[in-house]
Amino acid sequence: MSTTRTNQEWLHDLNASGATQEAAIADLRDLLLRAALYFFSRNLGDFKGLNRDEITQRAEDCAQDALIAVMDHLSDFRGDSKFSTWAYKFAINMAMMAARRERWKGVSLDELAASDESHFFASIREDKSDGIAPEQSAMQAEIQRIIQEVIEHDLTENQRRVLFMMVFNEVPMDEVVRQLDTNRNAVYKMLHDARRKLKSGLQARGFEIGETLALFGASR
């Protein structure tokens, strides 16, 4: 069990030398391992086919990587949260990347990215076809048509690719990042730019937020 330290004590001990630093690092590593195991325990579906020892080993690896990241960023800690809260996020971040990598191992994202959005919209229409007035159904179809038009004409190839993977095929962010050899900020920016264009496209054609969401029952 880790000892309880104040923020100042954590910083002091981790920056110390000898036995004091070694004890603090051991305690920190224990906290990071627990954070990684906690994330894994909530996401066991990502580890189908792996036994407990193999999953534990991946958590140990995440804890070690997180420990290095925490020590590298120690000077960034501003003290606006508990030190443990600040440190946990590194382990959770590593654990999420590891879990998603495991889940999507062997899946060809190129094949997903090569598909188009028409199947997605067709299945939405099937989902929503019961009990909807013809006029509402026609308006929904019009909104979907506008969205498809904006996707086709206004988005860049990269924005389309990321959109197809993440929105239409539910590929997680970190897997897209890994496949495209980029980072979360770049992927988020592509999605943000795509959303801005889609919002503008819908508004330019007269579909404002309240009306559009109400048409799809999403205003609640």
């Binding site: 069990m1 224990d30 391992l33 627990r34 954070a35 195991l37 906690y38 994330f39 894994f40 325990s41 909530r42 066991l44 580890f47 407990r52 999953i55 534990t56 960034d76 606006d80 949260s81 508990k82 443990s84 809260t85 600040w86 946990y88 996020k89 959770i92 971040n93 999420m96 997605f120 299945s123 939405i124 989902d127 929503k128 909104i143 929105v167 539910e170 997680p172 962010m173 970190d174 980072n183 979360r184 900020n185 988020y188 920016k189 999605l191 943000h192 959303r195 801005r196 889609l198 919002k199 819908l202 937020i209 559009t212 969401l213 799809f216 029952g217 999403a218």
Partner: protein
């Protein structure tokens, strides 16, 4: 249900802001957000840009939710040991 997913995405489209913070900025701020929230304050009102990012970014939102739940356990003195967590795997 794909229609539910589409409706959520439609909400995301309409709630898009011209300027949104990045995932890195979210990572920098999220521990403070959790601290404020667990202190019983309105974290969303104090940090609206972060809240907006969490609403838009599923990856950051999942990290935030895990961090919040983990910290809540620690605050209550109920953080499971590594051995206990391994037993759940």
């Amino acid at each position: 249900m794909k229609s539910d997913r589409f409706e959520r995405w439609l909400q995301n489209i309409y709630h898009t802001q011209d300027e949104e913070i990045s995932c890195s900025e979210c990572f920098d701020l999220v521990s403070h957000f959790v601290e404020v929230e667990l202190a019983g304050e309105d974290a969303a009102a104090r940090m609206p840009k972060l809240k907006q990012h969490l609403d838009q970014c599923a990856a950051c939102r999942e990290e935030y939710e895990t961090l919040r739940d983990l910290q809540r356990l620690e605050n209550k003195g109920e953080l499971p040991s590594a051995d206990d967590l391994q037993d759940k795997l």
